[in-house]
Every structure is written in structure tokens, then in C-alpha cells.
Symmetry: C2
Amino acid sequence: MARTDEDIASSTYRIFNYYLEYINQERETIRVLLSPNGDPYFFDKIKQIIDQLFTNKLTELNGHFSDKLPISYSMELSITNLLNIVRHWLNSPDPESPDELAEILMQSRLLAPRDLLVFD
Amino acid sequence: MARTDEDIASSTYRIFNYYLEYINQERETIRVLLSPNGDPYFFDKIKQIIDQLFTNKLTELNGHFSDKLPISYSMELSITNLLNIVRHWLNSPDPESPDELAEILMQSRLLAPRDLLVFD
């Protein structure tokens, strides 16, 4: 079944929300585990789990990686990009709500690094 | 002085190339320092250095962060995105040349996470 961009977006948003609610409940534990004093293997373990979730979801939605970059770089960027935003949120002294972060994550899907800069 | 997109791109490419040549020479040391068995503070130290270089260059080019995301998220993504690509390259068993990686980094500046996926 073909999916519209809207189907994909709302499905993605629901997934972000679901996991962010959980992460928010375990906020302090996950923050510490991801910190330099935490478990040095934790980031990679989470990466593997998200990688698996991501691949399953991509298959379900009839998606695949484009060939704009070598595929292993696309996979790496897709996953670490999400993880870095979540880690940044966990380290924030005055964090957004899980709902607000889900919005930021959704927005970030559509922004290339070049879009984050303005030159006068 | 106003800079064209081309000026900015060629300046960025030269910077990438310069640092990648150096990283390539120290490849094994940097790879180990960034690994789970390495120095848990190394990633953050490099982040701070790149952050400083990035901010200086942005000022020099009359640039600033857009307001499409909260600014601290834009800064985080701009820096970690580069670092993740370089770390992935360092971990690759059959790595691209520094020149090829500079091209990948340049390409990645223009690609949003959504651009890395294709849905049939």
C-alpha cells in the first residue's frame, strides 16, 4: 500500500511521542548513562536498537535509503541525528516537554545543516 | 563584505580538507580515543573546539543560526552532524580518502534527514 507523506509524518510523530514519554520518565538515569561518567557502551547499544526499529519501520513503509550519500553514512546520520537531539534535550537545564521535543524532532527531519544557518 | 554561496562553499571545503588530512594522519589514535574504550571526555572536548572554530567562521562570514529550531539545537546538530560523519569514517574498515570524505561532508550540508530516505 502506498503511503502519503502525511501518513509517514503522523506515524513518525506517534513513534517519537511514545518513546519520548518513556525517556522523560527515566530522564535522569538515561542522562547519566549517556554522560562521560556513564556507560561508554550505552550510546552504541541504543544506536543498535534504534537502527533496528528504524529499519523495521522503513520496510513497513516501503522505504529505503537514497543514494545521495553512501548508504552507511545515510544510516549513521539518520540515527545519530535523532540521538544527538535527544541527548541534548536530556542535558538541558530547562528542557522542553516531550510533546515540544517531538515537534523539534519532526522539524529537524526537514532541515539540512545548511538550512540552520543564515548569511547576511 | 557579502559572500556568495560559492565563496562559502569553497571556504568550507578547504577547511574540511585541511582537518581531514590531519585526522587521517592520526587516524588510529583518534579512532581509539573516540571509541568506548577511549577517553569518555574526548568527544566533548572536540565538540568544544569545533564549536569555537564554527562560531569564529560564522562570524567571519557574517552568518548566524536561523530560528527554524531553538538555537541551541541548531548548534548541537551542526557540530555533532560533522563529528558523527568523521567518527563513522574513522571506524570504517575500508575508508574513503580525505578528499572523498570532504565531498561527502559537503554533500551532507545540503541534505535533511528526510532527503536520505525514499518511499516507493
